[in-house]
Symmetry: C2
Amino acid sequence: MNFSEELKKRTEEIEGILERYLPREEGFQRTVLEAMNYSVRAGGKRLRPMLMAESYRLFGGSGPVVEPFMAAMEMIHTYSLVHDDLPAMDNDEYRRGRKTTHVAYGEAMGILAGDALLNYAYETALTAFDTAPGNAGIPRALKILARKAGIWGMVGGQSVDVESEGQPLSREKLDFIYSLKTGALIEASMMIGAVLAGASEEDVQRIGQVASDVGLAFQIQDDILDVTSTVEVLGKPIHSDEKNNKTTYVTLEGLEKASQDVEEISARALRTLGSTGRENTFLEELIRYLISREK
Amino acid sequence: MNFSEELKKRTEEIEGILERYLPREEGFQRTVLEAMNYSVRAGGKRLRPMLMAESYRLFGGSGPVVEPFMAAMEMIHTYSLVHDDLPAMDNDEYRRGRKTTHVAYGEAMGILAGDALLNYAYETALTAFDTAPGNAGIPRALKILARKAGIWGMVGGQSVDVESEGQPLSREKLDFIYSLKTGALIEASMMIGAVLAGASEEDVQRIGQVASDVGLAFQIQDDILDVTSTVEVLGKPIHSDEKNNKTTYVTLEGLEKASQDVEEISARALRTLGSTGRENTFLEELIRYLISREK
């Protein structure tokens, strides 16, 4: 199998896992359950659960304990998109060609579906105690999830991003936003995979470094594509950062340096990955793909 | 000390615990941290952490393992109020005489502060693993928290309440909303207290029954006060249910039966409490107070 076939196969496996953890749409509260599932089923790269699964595999993990965490991670990512799309936030009516959740179900239900997904992420992750009662890494994995999703992670980055809207950003603040808003969940994904596989503390820190670089390179590549791609390839509006007067890595550093930095950062990620002495060829290819991707 | 002195003292102890668990307002993300703390510091009866602490005490619990859960529970209750007050939900500008969070900090920050509080509740509760590494009840307590706060608990009740707005409700649906929207967190509070104290499964179920009745009686008393109290005593608008065409226990059953039922339900709660064979005089007085309260 070549990389893109392998990528497709593993994405499908993740879709299967997600489906198994979505709630059944029943009872008086059926609408909020439908809105949750609608949001998760809108698709996407499933990058975070995939990185979690590959990091788990890298450190010799096997068995299903990682699966509730994979589902939980995607639920947290999804809730952040649902709330991000709300009228008071980015006010987006479409995402990936489908109506956003609050457009499909009303604004109140959009808020509640996001809340429900965040809470259900924890409810789901906590089932790991039943899946693998003997896995001593579960409390640590839960703590990483909570820390990286919250005020010292994604929500912290979101709130600075929201507050900074329409203002020019320093490189320091931009780095902070990228590191928390995009980076934190990617770090959490790879660290949780490692922790559940029983990796050493040193390796958990190393894989956190890899993830931090992957997240940063991924985000810079996003900024680059917004300038260099076409609507047809990207499947969403281009030059949107310029239109919104948004400070990005490209506006601060220029296109050339941004492209160089993506190369360097991802090369560093691969070196750090190598320093674990472990091999996962698909993970290496995935990291290369993420920064050379055209959409 | 009489009951009201004791109540005051225990409320102050809880305020102290909450303060210790609130995040420091620092870093680029200071605003969302301020908004979170502003929301929690708005006050209230602190009923849920108090019931948790008293249930913990009832079953012989001692030591601080319950404290992160008490703080987490109040954060979850608070986030639900912050999101409930949003323009797309109840659109309330004041709560307990202070501006609501989204009025004070803007709507986007109101959404994010609510998200942050929900997530931080889990981050906080998870510190129990460090507070008391040997307490085998922690995973179960976390599961109860997540289940009762989510789609099978509070958020489920909220979403049915939102969807039913302006429509007449059947008694069945009203019971469902009361049981989930108000009851679930009270049940979780008392069950978590019992679980952390190492109560038997039978006693955990019993205390869940007590809590379910306490929640229901508390909610019916709310409906009664909306009809019988005055603005001065209640400190908030009266006859608001009638104005909003809201089906309540009183509109369905009448004032007389509602008052009788409150008495009966709370008597049942006290009987079930007695069936544990344990004594906590303050908890008994607290339950009596909650249903005879005038505001």
